[in-house]
Amino acid sequence: MMKKILKSFSIHSVLIFTSLLSIFPFIWLLSTSLKGNSENIFAYPPALIPKEFTFANYVGVWHRVDLMRYFINSMVVAGGTVILNLILSSLAGYPLARMEFKGKKIAFFAILATIMVPFQAIMLPVYLITLKLHLVDSVNDVAGFIGLVMPFAVSAFGIFLMRQAFLAIPREMEEAAIVDGCNVFQVFWKVLLPMVKPSLAVLAIFTFIGSWGEFLWPSIVLTKESMFTLPVGINNLQGMFSSNWRYIAAGSIISTIPIIIFFLAMQKYFIAGENEGAVKG
């Protein structure tokens, strides 16, 4: 009994310690963002609880930076990316799982090949092509959004995820639908797609998180501040407020709130232990 308590005590201590390490950088950022102007944020010893508690930094950064705009931009980009991924991945995953056709092997290996090539290695020509197609914010905002979304509109990860989902559906489902007079598109849309909803949810969530945090591509293509997504805008705070860490911290915390809410709402998808995610950038 004693041994059991000791074991459980040591396990909890390690996990509590790790959990604290995981959130401490945010706690410290939060603490800094709540400190007033007259409080020294470099004080020794550092004060975790602000002595002069204030929301002034939040009000200040909210007035000087259009965070709402960044948020809306991020929503548009992440939303667009998610919708396109759901549509394109399930469209492409279906024939790869369910049909026999000429060129299937080629299509399969071509898609598989895209997993092996990192975006970072081909980003320069992707940028040149995006420029050529006039999908940049200097043309207009809509073009800018399309340019932000298109290179990530479909991924091999998504296609294979959907293919796996379609593979798991019994053949009889299609046969019954055909007998009932469905055509191939109706089979796909009305019969199969509703059956792969769990996979669609997984794909949507991971695509959303990935797109929401994406930094490299928007920082390459964006030229107008009004088009900034949250990561680009938050990074830009560093230049705007050079050493005003109270503002930088407040802006960073504000930008993090939506994704934390999203994560907590969807947590079962992340921590069920089932995901082999695409979040990793």
């Binding site: 396990i11 945010f26 410290w28 299509a107 090539v117 930094f215 911290a249 992340f270």
Partner: protein, 290 residues
């Protein structure tokens, strides 16, 4: 089963994804290779063919070797830590204890946070008069230039990468741990094996493929590090944190030396492809079976 679809139906379904992949993947892929044989450094509007000139230039460039060394440091420090620590945590979490969900959420939190915010949070911890230096001073150690001293900067950035990756790999391990047969553990308990013995003899051999998978995935992501560097150090001080992707970015979008940048991109591509091939052929085979 009877064929209920027309001859071209499969192709129609594949078409939209195919078009996107063609425009934003396959064309750029080949264009990268083509660009790498061209010289843009004299006139960006009128490049000239120089064969393997860019590659020769790269292999004579001391900065490139520095960048490679940095990537190598990243690999040998971050990858083992990310293979071992998350496994240890996953084993602890998979014990039947209270509060698992809370621990999982807290440890996974860094994964979903935008890398930019995480990098800013760490930059603040690393400030010259910041909280980490205060802790060092309490322990009677002199302050360290976490991001300003070329000896330490790369390790400071690596710490961020590790911090942000632990939860992700822990979840992969947790999924793998569920597949270890319970009977094996019961047999261990009957034999009176200790906690350590139990996991060394049962868990580790059983999830070896997952350990290998985590190793290759984290190696690949270590070679793609960019945002951390961009937000925290811009590759400095003295190129000590410059990674290959950051260097490509700098050459391509700041120096507009498109050929040179593309040649480095091809090198990155080859290395990452080797790792990915190992990954797909050895560890994720079942996922990609035709």
């Amino acid at each position: 089963m009877f064929k209920y679809y027309g001859k071209w139906a499969p192709h129609l379904f594949l078409l939209p994804a195919g078009v996107i992949l063609l425009i934003f993947f396959f064309i750029p892929f080949f264009q990268t290779i083509v660009l790498s044989f061209q010289d843009y450094s004299n006139n960006i509007y009128n490049p000239s063919w120089i064969g393997i000139g860019n590659y020769l230039g790269i292999f004579k460039n001391p900065v490139f070797y520095k960048v490679m060394l940095n990537t190598f440091i990243y690999l040998i420090v971050a990858v083992p830590v990310l293979a071992i620590v998350p496994l240890f945590l996953a084993i602890l979490i998979s014990q039947k204890i209270r509060g698992i969900t809370v621990y999982k959420i807290l440890i996974y939190l860094p994964v979903i946070i935008s890398i930019v915010v995480a990098a800013i949070a760490f930059k603040w911890l690393y400030a010259d008069q910041g909280i980490l230096n205060y802790l060092l001073n309490v322990l009677h150690i002199n302050s360290v230039g976490w991001l300003t001293d070329s000896k330490y900067a790369i390790y400071s950035v690596i710490i961020l990468t590790i911090w942000k990756g632990i939860g992700y790999y822990m979840m992969i391990y947790l999924a793998a741990l569920m597949s270890v047969p319970k009977e094996l553990y019961e047999a261990c308990d009957i034999d009176g094996a200790s906690f350590l013995q139990k996991h060394l003899t049962v868990t580790i051999p059983h999830i070896m493929p997952t350990i290998a998978l985590v190793t290759t995935i984290s190696s690949i992501s270590a070679m793609k590090i960019f945002a951390e560097i961009y937000v925290m150090t811009k590759g400095g001080p003295l190129n000590s944190t410059k990674t290959i992707v950051y260097y490509i970015y700098e050459k391509a979008f700041e120096n507009l030396d498109l050929g040179y940048a593309s040649a480095m991109a091809v090198i990155l591509l080859v290395v990452v492809m080797i790792f990915s091939l190992i990954n797909i052929c050895c560890f994720e085979r079942n996922k990609y079976q035709i």
